[in-house]
Amino acid sequence: MTGAVDFRPNEDQRDLRRGIRELLAGRFGREALRAAVDGPGRVDRGLWKELGEAGFFALRLPEEEGGVGLGLPEAVLLFEEAGRALLPGPLVATHLAAGAVEGAAEGLTVVTEVSPEGLVPWLDAADVVRGDAAGAVPLRSVDPLTPLHRAPRTGRLSAGAVEAALLTAAEQVGTAAWCTDAAVAHAGRREQFGQVIGGFQAVKHLCAGMLVRTEVARAAVQAAAVTADRVEIAGAKLLADEAAVANARDCLQVHGGMGFTWEADVHLHLKRAWVRAALVLPGAKAAEEVASAL
């Protein structure tokens, strides 16, 4: 059936998603993730190049410019996978720089950008900085996988800021989905009072709420990718931020004492969700943007 409203990814889109999921599972599994946590601040250039070869950065460049020639609907599928894997590095900025900054499309150049909120992720590791990072000072970043600098706040939205908000929202959906899966897996395994805790309504209702948030946010992000409407993107970012942060919190809660440890991965998702929420179009601004269209 062609032409009818169809929310399901088509076969090519599913293949694309499967491809990146397999690439990330092979190249950035749990061991690589924990190694990155133990040796922070470094972009894995080999992986960056592989992402480039897989079309992660050149995805939306026209084919005659050496790109894949696809659009935002495909890009949000890839960024959701990157978010689920907690893939580190300035992925959004490098993706948006493809075609404008030499080597970005191929994964040979690491590009970062000063966010409108005055935050610069990955400043020391990047080859190219877009925006004015003069006088930027390092923060002790809450997220062990995202080094941050603070630059004077411009408040100005760069040309790519709306797309950056959408792709960041897609990463948030990835975190929201990972947290749902991790909570369900733990609740189905952990036994107390002689049964798995996932049989208790107090726990299963937390899990159900996580799925609802994920699905609502995913529908918003995927639709916004199709319409590319500025207000719809702002709304999607707002819902995706809320879903990622709230799901990470609930996932932590379901994990009990384990959830509070450095060893469990859930804190990495929570911290990254906070960073993504603050980096571009944070909650209050997104809400204002949607309200202004009412």
Partner: protein, 377 residues
Amino acid sequence: MDLSYTAEEEEFRARLREWLAAELPGLPPRPDPLDWPGRRAYDCGWQRRLYDAGYGHVHWDASPTQRLIFLEETERAGAPYVGANFVGLLHAGPTIAAEGTPEQRERWLEPVLRGDEVWCQGFSEPDAGSDLASLRTRAVRDGDAYVVTGQKIWTSHAEVADWCELLVRTDPEAPRHRGISWLALRMDAPGVTVRPLRTLAGSTEFAELFLDEVRVPVSHRVGEENDGWRVTMVTLSFERGTAFVGEVVACRRLLGELARTARENGTWDDPALRRRLGALAARFQALWRLTQRNVSEAQATGGVPGTGGSVFKLDYSHARQELYDAAADVLGPDALDLGREWNLDRLSSLSYTIAAGTSQIQRNIVAERILGLPKGR
């Protein structure tokens, strides 16, 4: 992913829009909410107009996408919703269409579509609410009839209904899901007593139904004897599927009205309230997209709406209550005036997290059937 409509679907929309524009000005004034015979006449009159124009079957025969367009356009145009025909068009009718014999379909479907007969739903009992399968209304076979005795509750539109889709226990010895049958009960049969219940909104939206040795012909049973639970699940999945499309469209319209009021009365200058309205707008937009997704999945699988309905209903019912809470903050002291429609709607919305499966039951469904967590308490 494709959010565009086919040429035929756009044509369906354009024709419908044109018809609505011509038809709606000729509608009689809406009846008082407490005037039940008036409401029945109004709702059935509207259904008859739909039928005569070729839209009577739209809830059953149209593709899910056409149905989405129908609900979207009728709501946008301010047309009446199904009203007293809710059960006939969206519960009992689809059940009979799916499970009934040719004779049963012939007897019951056409009058529903023409707006001639109204149905109500006799499922819940005083001791069988969320735990519907524990229902105890007894039906004992006596020749070619069942003799039915028991009590039903929360029966919407019972005062003006011709028929009731009734769940009864036909085998008290069987495991509880396997001893239930689905009967069509004539509401004027001897032994049927209706007692209206007053809701917290002050109106009588539903009733209690007392059944004292009511005779129901065996030929009025839909599906096999003791197979009523499965037959009923078909109905419930309709209820939780796309039944809320029009209401999402309505909420987006309400939010626009609310923003206008807030700009007029100055509450828009409060950033916290303004952002709350923005966040609600984002949520209803996402719920609209989720509806489109559920519909396109139903269309693709060719089936009945699935568990996506539970996900939708959970968020929608809470979002709608939050919408009225925000409205109350915009209205200020006027939020205490029942002369304003907002406030009556706010009261009605308190049922949304209870009716058609409470939020707690929906979370069990999501956790057990989608996430695969074990059944338990």
